[in-house]
């Protein structure tokens, strides 16, 4: 998969790496079960700190997009595509809520009410 980062941009580098993974999932470059490069290897070719890559990988694992397996490295989790899209939509909703004065709790209550 292709990775692109903008060191001069406002978005943190770890978030840019996570965006790369989500974009590849949506475009079909990555499929569930596929392995991602080790943090040290990706950091070397992107000329960034390995901890930055690990930060991104951990955030994606927390979202359920990636899974870490002992001895097998980092893999794309099953169902990661759908989950990634939902996470992105939730982030957009949170950003819209912040812009319009809705707190996360208020948004959650609104979703509960609509469900």
């Amino acid at each position: 998969m292709e990775w692109a980062i903008d060191r001069g941009g406002t978005m943190p580098l770890h978030e840019q790496i996570a965006v790369n993974v989500r974009r590849s999932l949506e475009e079909g470059d990555l499929a569930p079960g596929e392995r991602l490069p080790p943090a040290s290897e990706l950091a070397a070719v992107l000329d960034i700190n390995p901890n930055t890559v690990l930060h991104a990988y951990r955030a994606l694992r927390a979202e359920g997009v990636l899974e870490f397996r002992r001895g097998r490295g980092v893999q794309v989790a099953a169902g990661a595509v759908a989950r990634s899209a939902v996470v992105e939509a939730a982030k957009d909703l949170l950003a819209l809520g912040r812009a319009t004065g809705y707190s996360p709790e208020a948004l959650a209550a609104l979703i509960e009410e609509l469900a």
């Binding site: 990775w3 941009g9 392995r35 290897e41």
Partner: protein, 235 residues
């Protein structure tokens, strides 16, 4: 604006993994199950079978990472042995679409020094180094790797990379040698010695392939001559 681009891929061949497991099982267990007499006890047989399985899995995976001025190649899940090639050493990069025979080196133009990390038919990144070595590695999107290499290569050597990019007249999925021939012209001083024609091609009549170059005929006839000599000597 400082941007960074990289390309990574891990390609595994399920067929090669299955072949390794089958061969490992056969070498380790079949003689014992069949009750064949032999000096190999069961424990050693199983261990040997497992080693063959692991070797098969190792040979079935190649990893590639391109970025920050270098190409990093590795064999197996643990990327060992590892090879680092600086962009400055790459004189030409092109995309190829290889056949299943070419995966195993059959029909690939002979090169005096060659590294083959191909595990499946299909898109392959071919790198010609300034040392004269040809490196081929399986990867799903070689054109992306070529774009990164060409953007990071010294300015005087960017022409071969640009010529080999897909979407141009010299498509990145050209057969062996074609992209190079059209990009630089044959016989040009300093041109790498990579002949353009595949050794084997489809038959004009019937199914299968037949030799198309003298190297192909050599590969075909050499075993026949060898076997004939051995038979003559035996009798």
């Amino acid at each position: 604006m400082r941007t960074g681009r990289a390309y990574t891929s891990t390609v595994s061949s399920k067929g090669l993994v299955a072949a390794g497991i089958s061969l490992g099982t056969a070498t380790g267990l079949v003689p014992w199950l069949a009750g064949l007499p032999g000096p190999v006890p069961i424990v050693e047989g199983v261990v040997f079978g497992l080693v063959v399985c692991a070797a098969g899995a190792h040979q079935a995976t190649v990893r590639l990472a391109v970025g920050d001025g270098r190409v990093v190649l590795g064999q197996g899940p643990w990327r060992w042995p590892k090879r680092v090639v600086p962009f400055s050493l790459v004189s030409q990069a092109r995309a190829e679409d290889i056949s299943i025979l070419q995966v195993f080196g059959i029909g690939v133009p002979w090169h005096w020094r060659s590294t083959r990390m191909t595990v499946r038919a299909g898109p392959t990144l071919a790198l010609l180094l300034t040392t004269g070595e040809m490196v081929r590695v399986s990867t799903p999107h070689p054109e992306v790797a070529i774009a990164i290499i060409s953007s990071g290569a010294p300015s005087e050597s960017t022409a071969p990379f640009c010529a080999a990019r897909p979407g141009t007249a010299q498509s990145g999925t050209a057969p062996f040698g074609t992209a190079q021939s059209t990009a630089r012209g044959r016989g040009e001083p300093g041109e790498p010695t990579d002949s353009g024609r595949p050794w084997f091609g489809p038959k004009r009549v019937g199914y299968g392939i037949s030799p198309k170059t003298w190297q192909g005929w050599l590969v075909t006839l050499a075993p026949v001559v060898l076997i004939s000599i051995i038979l003559a000597l035996v009798h």
